[in-house]
Symmetry: C2
Subunit: 615 residues, 2 copies
């Protein structure tokens, strides 16, 4: 038997739009097939035969038609009606050229708790299907009235013992029940007819609502999909891996973007599967280790450039390098590098600044780029950046360019030394992390990107109340914490009343002595964000800190956090520049591994007050 | 004893912004006081004394400071730390001039399940408070570790038996538990120190998440707040009615709007309370009965006007009246009246149309307006409308003008008869309902507005999946269904990818014979929206309708729905005009009381395809 490849499929319900939007998006992202949701067909102007032809033109198979609901284990008169309904759907499937239909376990009050009856009626349905060359995939909904676990659905399928009746396994329904999955590998070969995949965050809520609103693509949640799929493949399954993700955000976002995010999740999932005898798994180039933030680059203009220069000088940076051919400056303090780029490449609102690029040192930049491209990250042409050096670069979901550098010589050669020295040493050691507010529709996409493309580990997700609405933050890092990214997003897309800084970006520099650094910055007349006295009064009550320590914190506007293991964070912020960007200086003590989210509302309110007093 | 008035208070957590935004919004909406949330103070640049002065300037008392958490029933060493923490908060309260602090029942794993210990430690705390002229309001959180019901917190307060220790009752925590509330009226007079009010929809989810994200203002959810407050007042409570509403939407919306919505909820709540011996309740002018939609008015321009004229003519309308002095036309068919107004009053995008006004026949228009004004609806000056007649008018939350007319003579006199006759009778009987998409931040506000201001009854709320994202609809009507409004909103605020018609508005006309009307419209060459064949194929499968009936539906593009009682809806739609508005014609049979939400996705997809084919 020749090893085949796993087909990749996506349910039309995963993405937004009408059927034409959905099919086009699935094809463009490289899927092999779709699960066609009945609702998408019903509202479409194309006949089923036209849908079939359109899909065939785009290289898409119709892997599954769904669903038939509330079919089995009903009193006889209802059975006749249900069979009649099924025949209508078989007619549609015949026109579509689809041979597998999903039957979800019944949620109807009319259903009888009788496995024998369910098996008998499903076998009747399978007879009808078989006569048309079709087959029935029976799935236990986690909230099914009598059948809600995969092993129960499997007992019924075994009892029915019909060649045209098999199982549909859906990772959400299986894994949300926290039931055992070890036995899945022992399902009779050939009896898993279909495999639906969805990830999800762990949520304490009604399982139906959880399922209908909060599913995610594999790798975006907390389910062990690798183990689950490995079990299904061990049972001899060779059908498509098909995504079935109900997600409120994806349902209204650009379907072309969502489909690429979806495909990335399947590529990454397949890469992580154990080797299979009957399937040729496609493997990605391994993610090379990343060692350090090489530099962060801001686009500026004639108004925002000087403002950022002043700020950097106040933090102890000097303008150490000038690009050989472009209006691009290198600023340094210790191992911290910031590039200010006023060579306009994309239109921007006058007076604004934006973090456009960051560069990471990679053990193998070309492989980093190859992996990114294999994961559908858009490779960037060299001309998009400012540098002569041919750095490997890709675009992140928020449009930020990510450069991979082998070492500093890669990009330093672009700059001529100016000989300028910092006015003073502020003791900054390097970049601790970048803080990047993400576009509302692309937060989970961004997480999967940084995890799968860069090979970063996801740290915790935090949700907190902030002055202008609820926020979510999710951080990623290398195992040694040499590269850290903190992504944030508002829980609701911001509307007209958004007086805070929208989509802020910041670079956080590390110091080994926050008080020495703060004093040095003070001596340079450097920037500092005012912290309210009320904050320090509360700090005393919350942490019982010594009075003199609180006084030192207050003097320098330093914020404080402590984790449950006694790790401590000391950090301070600058004002916002160019409407969007700011800097942070921080010192971690005792293994503190967070990002000071508890203090984010203080920063947001202070930034708001600075804007109010400036206007 | 002189009867006093109920003070009205709002927790700062109810609205968005920094403390200055929140205080200003509360004062502008007419509140007497605030509950000050610690987090709002901590991030504020004002000292507590400055906050006190600012509130005093605006006529706001600080009714409650909150919260102290995880205080009671702890081992001795923790008690000392907790008392020290409390003293810090008492310092803050002294500066604020606040005399009541909220202590929530502990959620800490350190808390001991020992009512005696809880009472003893709360009494200790009350001693400290009393020494400073303060008092402790103890509240059972619905998810408290050991104390989670109001009657349990009351047992502890009785056991402590301390004059400076009383109860805080929060309607959410009490009513979400579905526990009995009859005994509340028997709480010892004077021992309810504080009353917090929140409504909520019934949701099957973790109670903490429900509480933190989905609370609503009174009248916006399903809780019996009237009964609850009546019970509390019966127990002799004379303190403020204080709103404490955690709501994801309100937390990020314009705080000035939210505060007015909040105040409206309290005014309406008080109006519905049974008379009280010790309190002088403020009563609203009763809502006069509303009998009929008198007319619907669209703003149009030189491009959208002719398009709407064509559409109306095709539906059998004639241009029957011309305004005496302005470019405003009256169009009629049967008892359906549409006004097209091209007298520009507000700037609008060229080529667009919008439903700007609707008029309802009221048994007492002046009283309708007086009630609306008492409920803080902005009264509209006559000059805003197009008419000479001095109709009472107010603005709805989405900006639509609502006119109250005593009878048709009120406004008909503005128009000179043109003598034009309809080209044919299409049998339209009158306006069945208006469909109004609401601004995302103001959906619950709009519901409360139509319920409290117009006195309409809320019908069911529906949520459904549509091609471009999830939708929620909520309908309001008079008891006799003479006036119906169907409000809709997207569950997530629309972003850049919003290819559907954003914020559609429509007028639905009733007919007694949908097939005769459709045929008459066809004869006039009137507008019809194409309905996919797939829809009819599905209809056969779903409802087992006779083939000839389905064929008649298909021929005219008529959609069909059936409710669980056998009531039926037959309805058809026009295309979208002016980018936003469309018409519907419907026939209800057998008591059908819905709005055909099941067919909304068909309409949305069809409107999308019309736009695609037009562009």
């Amino acid at each position: 038997m020749t090893a085949g490849r796993l087909r990749r499929s996506i349910a039309t319900v995963c993405v937004s739009g009408t059927l034409d939007d959905k099919i086009a998006a699935a094809a463009a992202a490289g899927f092999d097939g779709i699960e066609l949701f009945e609702n998408d067909l019903v509202v479409a102007p194309w006949s089923p035969a036209e849908v079939r032809a359109r899909c065939a033109d785009l290289g898409l198979g119709i892997e599954l038609y769904q669903p038939l609901r509330d079919f089995e284990a009903v009193p006889a008169p209802l059975l006749a009606a249900n069979l009649a309904r099924a025949e209508h759907k078989f007619d549609v499937m015949a026109e579509l050229g689809a041979d597998t239909v999903l039957v979800c376990s019944s949620v109807s009050p009319a259903a009888i708790d009788d496995d024998g009856l369910a098996a008998e009626q499903l076998a009747l349905l399978a007879d009808r299907a078989q006569a048309r060359g079709m087959r029935i995939a029976y799935e236990a909904l986690a909230w099914g009235r009598h059948v809600s676990t995969w092993d129960h659905s499997w007992r019924i399928v075994r009892q029915a013992d019909h060649p045209a009746l098999g199982l549909c396994l859906d990772s959400f329904h299986v894994l949300s029940r926290e039931a055992g999955t070890d036995d899945i590998a022992r399902i009779t070969p050939g009896k898993i007819f279909f495999l639906q995949l969805a990830d999800a965050p762990y949520l304490r809520m009604d399982v139906l609502q959880w399922s209908r609103h909060h599913r995610l693509f594999p790798g975006q949640g907390t389910f062990d999909l690798t183990g689950f799929v490995a079990g299904v493949l061990a049972a001899g399954y060779t059908g498509p891996l098909s995504l079935e993700v109900f997600n409120d955000v994806f349902r209204q976002a650009d379907p072309r973007r969502t489909a690429i995010d979806a495909m990335r999740s399947l590529i990454s999932l397949e890469d992580g599967l154990p080797a299979q005898p009957a399937i040729e798994l496609r493997r990605l180039p391994a993610a090379p280790p990343l060692s350090v933030h090489a530099f962060s680059e801001f686009t500026v203009d004639g108004r925002s450039g000087p403002v950022l220069q002043d700020a950097l000088r106040g933090l102890g940076f000097a303008h150490t390098g000038q690009h050989r051919s472009k209006p691009v400056e290198l600023w340094e303090q210790g191992a911290c590098r910031v590039v200010l780029n006023s060579a306009v490449t994309r239109p921007q609102t006058p007076g604004t600044a934006a973090l456009s690029t960051f560069a990471l040192t990679s053990a193998d930049p070309r492989r980093s780029r190859a992996r990114a491209e294999a994961l559908l990250a858009p490779a960037l042409p060299r001309t998009r950046g400012s540098r002569e050096a041919d750095l490997a670069a890709v675009a992140a979901p928020d449009g930020t360019s990510v450069f991979f550098s082998a070492d500093d010589n890669d990009w330093r050669a672009d700059f001529l030394a100016t000989g300028e020295q910092p006015a003073g040493d502020t003791g900054l050691l390097g970049t601790d992390h970048l803080g990047l507010a993400q576009p509302f529709d692309h937060f989970d996409e961004a997480g999967l990107f940084y995890h799968s493309v860069l090979g970063l580990t996801q740290l915790t997700t935090e949700e907190y109340a902030a002055p202008f609405g609820l926020m979510r933050s999710r951080a990623f890092s290398t195992p040694q914490r040499t590269v850290r990214l903190a992504l944030t997003v508002a829980l609701l897309r911001r509307g007209e009343w958004a007086p805070a800084v929208v989509d802020p970006q910041h670079v956080a520099f590390a110091t080994a002595d926050i008080f020495a650094t703060a004093a040095a910055v003070d001596r340079l007349g450097g920037p500092a964000m005012q912290v309210p006295d009320n904050y320090y009064a509360d700090l005393v009550a919350r942490f019982a800190l010594p009075g003199d320590l609180v006084e030192r914190l207050r003097r320098h506007g330093i914020l404080y956090d402590r984790d449950q293991h006694g790790g401590e964070l000391f950090h301070l912020y600058t004002p916002v520049y160019g409407g969007r960007v700011f800097f942070e200086i921080l010192q971690r003590r005792g293994g503190y591994d967070g990002f000071g989210e508890a203090n984010a509302p203080v920063r947001m309110a202070a930034h708001r007050h600075l804007r109010l007093s400036a206007s």
